[in-house]
Homo-oligomer: 279 residues x 4
């Protein structure tokens, strides 16, 4: 039987990595959270020149510790799953892989540190590791509300972009190079900086007409912000009402499927809702 | 009969340009979307000095390709319609015309590139070309909500402008020329930059009193933004409710009227809802 | 009888100034709107050095025209009312007076141009002059919604100010004079610039700790803006519902009370709702 | 009996400090409000170099006046309460203590002025002193709405922070040191400055790719602001409905419990709702 075959060390490994019911499983989770945060801080510190000069060896050692742990974790994850390919090509699987390899690659290619930027994505895993069920509920509520307002927001962003292209072209024709409007793409950059009310000030209109049109763009941007806010608010208020009913019905637990590592199973579930295997 | 007369090459041309049911019609639409985007990118690249110096001939050639296609398209549109004047003086008709002529005019007048800014408006056509019915539904919902809150937003902008004039005049009296407040119009420009929370920093108050009043303007601007957001949110929530009912009733197709090119006809429509001609 | 005494030239004058039913009344209103806008533009142009140097005499002449008209209007308003003191000490009465006198005072005192800033307030009159009943309805709706959320917004602003004082003091202790944090009031100014997301950049933190705390202030400010928006939106949605019922009942006309110049009387009103005199 | 023992001078002291029913109680409250504001203004003025140089002695004298009054008030508060430890370790107790000691400590340690920043927190007390019951009602409504949306806002801030780390790392890899992107932490600082639409401009992207990604961050930040606004608005509208019912039932008075100084007792309450002692 399937169940039996899996009940060896693979099963125990799966329990440690994917669940938090045993002491070892809990310890693994806390160690992983700690190492993910450490790995992100390491990347940050390496980029600060003074720190890197003074503590280069320490940072490299810690980077090796993180890399070895991540490598072991990645292999363990693959080994303990029945269908590892699903994990390998999943969103988290790719992030886990890319977070692990930069140090190995640095001996082969220069510039492989670019991959370190991906490591920040592992912070998303902390959500799942800590089994922050309550927060996940809130997150999925936000997500579904944003999904519902997707089409409206796409229209909105499209209109904002066209507006930026038009206004950027006009400003390029009005303003001179000295003011920073050296090309249409740069003028469009300035228009978006202004329309979103960011306003760096590295480029700023200097002619009277330019300042007048800038004023119109600002007031537009100031008013336009009402549109996504209105869209999202209405969706939130709609979803808030629906979710109230749903949330009282579904009770999920912290188990993960041993085949595909799907989460959020019902308390009384026997089969994975995603791949159908026994839990 | 009307129908018969039109059933020659004009009818086929109309089908290609205005509808997307035939393979040729689809190809035409895709080519048009591609060329509109290309034409906008061309205008942008020409404005970047380094690109223009190195690839001037290539850009000019592509500009000619776009211009010739746009010219042919414009003529075809006029020819294939029964009442072409409606199109010529419509919003899209004027934009199509102005997007086509700059290259021709550049041999007559200097500075006719100003008209290129209009080309960005053609991007709006992509909406219609792609027959993004779903998005158009969302867009019209946004539009009707914004229309309903027009009067309130007009009052709001009027009050903001008066506030800017008053505050700008006060700041001009307080701050010196060195801080950038060289005239009342410039002070009003600064006030709007501050009130909309853009904040370039090219002009910034330097006296204590000026900074104090600037603080008041910022807090005002920070609070005032709540007003349009509130207005639009309330309208959205009202329109969202109404539209739910309406949307389930009307089913439109992608046909366009051969006489006036109106769109969004009901599936079982036989006459154009706008001009009454047979579809 | 009161009515009779008033039915001479005073009554006709009142009709011209305060109502828009007669041709002369309409002409007076349009002239006033034109002159108010002219007077504000004059103040602006005088502040632009180049314009003032080249057209000083023209501007002064126009300023005299405006001043004489405003003087005549002010006297006519007082004469045509039965209880002129109410008008003289009303909000509009004071603004009308202060808008009229700067040119006279300029021969007595230097620096009386300060009063010109008040002239911008006359722009508010345009609302009333144009009898923009529809807009006034919207404005009063906005006003009553803002009034209802007054207490909440006061709490909010008070909390924001305390937060600014605390954060400003902390930033003063962390950042040095070179970064622009020369005193606590200036640090508070910077905090408000940051909290409201204006961000001039004339003062910016330069130490690591200062930038970290600045980050917290920004995220706070970014989140805090949700509070007034939420308050106002809820009030708007509440008032929108109430006003729907009310608006269908009350019908007002454009008459103004000859005694106290109150406006917005019901169509069938015989007595002023404010002072009780016959209309 | 408890009641009797307390009915001596301690009881009168309690009445003066914690209640506003007697003339002396009112006078004490007004004096305290005045001195708290004075104490905050003193801290500010001491930080302005010119003011401190010219009026050092006056400021020091006033600082001593404030310190002595605060000391006396602190001792009186402790003495007049039956259970003083509750007060000493409460939020307000700690703030009162820390606001009092800086001048004493300045003779022992340098740099104890850091504690003066805490004094601004005493401004919160003005709310309670002035027994602004109406405002407190609004404040608690805001507070409970914010509390209810706490989990959603935590998710939101967490996502914003991860986004900032990812985008900051990417920008560090793209932009050079000259543009100000000297390390990843500084790039993250810039990302948050941009994402919150503050936009100082002390650090600004200069490469084309950097400006393109900056544009994406801005549009993201511009849209993201809709999320907390939506969350808070929905909570406000929910709490506004609930509070309407509640507010009509509970009537509180301005009395404070002599044991634990809890406030907001019902009009007909005989025992403190917090500690159970007789009022």
């Amino acid at each position: 039987m399937k169940e039996e075959i899996h009940s060896g060390w693979k099963h125990r490994l799966h329990e440690i990595i994917y669940e938090a019911d045993t002491p070892l499983g809990k310890f693994f989770d806390i160690a992983l959270v700690f190492l993910i945060i450490l790995s992100v801080i390491l990347v940050m510190l390496e980029s600060v020149k003074e720190v890197d000069q003074n503590y280069h060896d320490l940072l490299l050692t810690l980077e090796w510790v993180v890399t070895i742990f991540f490598s072991a974790e990645y292999i363990a994850r693959i080994v303990s799953l029945k269908k590892p390919l699903r994990y390998v090509f999943s969103f988290y699987g790719i992030i886990d892989f890319v977070s692990t390899i930069p140090l190995y690659l640095s001996y082969l290619f220069a510039g492989s540190q670019v991959l370190l930027a991906v490591r920040a994505f592992r912070l998303l895993r902390i959500f799942r590791i800590l089994k922050l069920v309550k927060f996940l509920g809130e997150a999925s509520q936000l997500k579904s509300a944003l999904k519902a307002s997707r089409a409206k927001i796409a229209v909105f962003i499209y209109v904002v972009l066209i507006l930026s292209v038009i206004m950027g072209t006009i400003m390029y024709l009005i303003e001179s190079d000295e003011a920073g409007f050296t090309s249409i793409p740069r003028s469009i950059y300035w228009t978006i900086v202004t329309l979103t009310t960011v306003g760096y000030g590295d480029i700023a209109p200097q002619t009277d007409l330019g300042q007048f049109i800038a004023t119109i763009i600002m007031v537009l941007g100031y008013g336009i912000i009402a549109v996504p806010t209105g869209i999202v608010t209405v969706e939130f208020s709609r979803h808030g009402k629906n979710n109230k009913k749903e949330r009282s019905i579904v009770h999920t637990n912290t188990q993960a499927c041993p085949s595909c590592s799907a989460e959020g199973h019902r308390d009384n579930a026997k089969h994975c809702y995603s791949c159908g295997d026994l839990l």
